[in-house]
């Protein structure tokens, strides 16, 4: 298990290699990368605020939950904070397992939980001004389904 909360950008290829190596006898690595999207409102930049004393422990708890539910050999979460421009990477989730089903499902679980349980708050800068992003019902629903289908 490994979590980094940082301002700096990350190297996706290097992160995948590192997870595969840490996992040992790995048959599958699944990866998700999240980006700042320009979108319908013309987002030019985004500020990610976070709760420093809580962030790493919250992410580690989410990661630990994934390891309890799926036979993962290794995993990695990288989450950036600070000022990011449209097109920049925000978050990476990588999971390594013997077979692909666990790797895919655990990666999706980690992202669904990160969307609702990681102490970050996004403030978008658009052509119309600044705006705090609101939680989405679809994100809450996505996280909830993992509670109902607990393995």
């Amino acid at each position: 298990m490994s979590v980094s909360v940082q301002r700096e950008d990350f190297d996706v290829a290097a992160e995948i290699e590192a997870v595969a190596e840490r996992g040992g006898d790995v048959g599958a690595v699944a990866t998700f990368t999240g980006f700042v999207r320009c979108g319908e409102r013309g987002v030019r930049a985004m500020t990610l605020e976070h709760y420093p004393e809580m962030t790493e422990s919250a992410l580690a708890a989410i990661e630990e939950e994934a390891h309890l539910r799926w036979p993962l050999l290794a995993s990695r979460i990288v989450h950036r904070f600070g000022e990011l421009c449209a097109g920049e990477r925000i978050v990476l989730v990588a999971t390594a397992s013997a077979h692909r089903a666990a790797a895919f499902e655990a990666a999706e679980f980690l992202m669904d939980y990160l969307k609702t349980k990681a102490p970050f708050w996004k403030c978008e800068e658009t052509l119309e001004g600044r705006r705090w992003v609101e939680e989405r019902a679809s994100d809450s629903a996505a996280a909830d389904r993992w509670s109902r289908s607990r393995k």
Partner: protein, 89 residues
Amino acid sequence: MGGEPLRLKYFAWVREQLGVGGEEVRPPESVKTIADLIAWLCERDERYRTVLCDSPDVRFAVDQEMAEDREHSVEGAREVAFFPPMTGG
């Protein structure tokens, strides 16, 4: 609540609307839950009312762990944080 002051932290629009990122307070012994704490803060200063009392969307963490609701205990707590629903990931 003992000798140590209680640290309060505010994030995102909660921080912007209160005009401060955090503060230290010394609530009386009668403050036992988040609801009690909010009521006490509102009594001290009206600006807490709009942001914490009247806003259903504010969430809480006590000593860096998420609180389920306003009935969560703050007895013995060192830090309570107030923030909007999280939008990470």
